[in-house]
């Protein structure tokens, strides 16, 4: 009788570190998937990450690769600078919905429109987490947040933005897909998408963005399992999973 290890902590996950994320937060799953992909592609020493502002601002504490901070929303511009000077490196941003879809909407649209050969991991959990549960550009209609206590009202707050669909209208970006980390069966697909988004860059194919539907149990006011159930029942109908562009 012998034993084979079938899962261990990724090599590029910072050793001996416990994350600051709340219990059951989807950020940890998405971080882990990025680390697993970096390990599988063997690019740890060649990867430069760009950190956002928001809950994932300290992502560099958990990922053992070169990392650069960006001001709120500016990660795609910082990544553009990095990749322009070092086209031989693998440059990716990791951004939440406040960072990417609100304050940084200009930067992501134009980086995508230039077809910049970078990878973007976009975490959509329909809320501002770090600042304490305020309304995000992706907050669903009727969803309560601390700055829309009665629920998001389209007349006052407009509609939640479908970033992937919007960016897919541009000719330059190559791969745009939406996945979720709500359950293992989706997580396996999410990892495939993240791997493809990095592989595309390694092959010099151009701009790739993976939108990851995630949860915020703390600010949604739910237990972790309940939060992912709500994601599946409430977020997924508005934010359908699937590829919106794939280098066609």
């Amino acid at each position: 009788m012998s034993e084979v290890k079938v899962y261990e902590r990724p090599k590029s996950w910072m050793p001996n570190v416990s994350s600051h994320y709340c219990p059951g937060c989807g950020h940890g799953i998405a971080h882990r998937l990025v680390c697993e992909v970096i390990d599988e592609l063997g690019i740890q020493n060649d990867t430069i990450g760009v950190a956002p502002v928001g809950c994932a601002a300290m992502i560099y504490d958990y990922m053992d690769t070169d990392y650069c901070e960006a001001p709120h929303g500016r990660a795609p511009a910082v990544a553009t600078g990095l990749k322009t000077v070092r086209p031989d490196k693998i440059v990716y941003t990791y951004q939440g919905d406040g960072d990417l879809a609100s304050i940084g909407m200009g930067e992501i649209v134009h980086a995508a429109n230039r077809g910049q050969n970078i990878t973007v991991i976009f975490i959509n959990n329909a809320i501002y987490g770090m600042t304490g549960g305020q309304m995000a550009p992706t907050t669903l209609l009727g969803q309560k947040a601390t700055t829309c206590p009665l629920g998001r009202d389209a007349k006052v707050n407009g509609y939640p933005i479908r970033v992937s669909e919007m960016l897919a209208t541009l000719p330059a970006p190559g791969y745009i897909t939406r996945v979720t980390v709500a359950q293992p069966k989706y997580i396996i697909k999410a990892k495939q998408a993240i791997k493809k988004a990095f592989q595309n860059q390694v092959e010099g194919k151009g701009f790739s963005l993976v939108e990851v539907l995630s949860s915020c149990p703390t600010n949604w006011g739910m237990r972790p399992v309940e939060a992912f159930d709500w994601l599946i029942s409430s977020m997924m109908p508005y934010y359908p999973l699937g590829d919106f562009k794939d280098f066609d």
């Binding site: 009788m1 079938v6 416990s18 994320y21 937060c25 940890g28 882990r32 359950q183 237990r223």
Partner: protein
């Protein structure tokens, strides 16, 4: 059925329970122990682990290592 086992890196576990829900053979539960951060780490409380790694796949803290046992 394949056999497996898990090792919980208890210092990283935050008792979120995602693995408990993800386990297809329902061999996991939140333990009565307390780790340094005050969380109660998950544990395998009965035989029957199949080494499918669904628990590790869903763990946000990379706190579970999975082994498959080959006869």
């Amino acid at each position: 059925m394949a056999k497996g086992r898990i090792e919980v890196l208890e210092q990283y576990c935050k008792s979120c329970g995602l693995c408990v829900a993800a386990c297809p053979v329902k061999v996991l539960r939140i333990s009565e122990k307390t780790n340094a951060k005050g969380y109660r780490p998950v544990e395998q409380f009965k035989e029957g682990c199949i080494g499918c790694a669904m628990c590790a796949t869903t763990c946000p803290d990379a706190a579970i290592e999975v082994f498959k046992i080959q006869e």
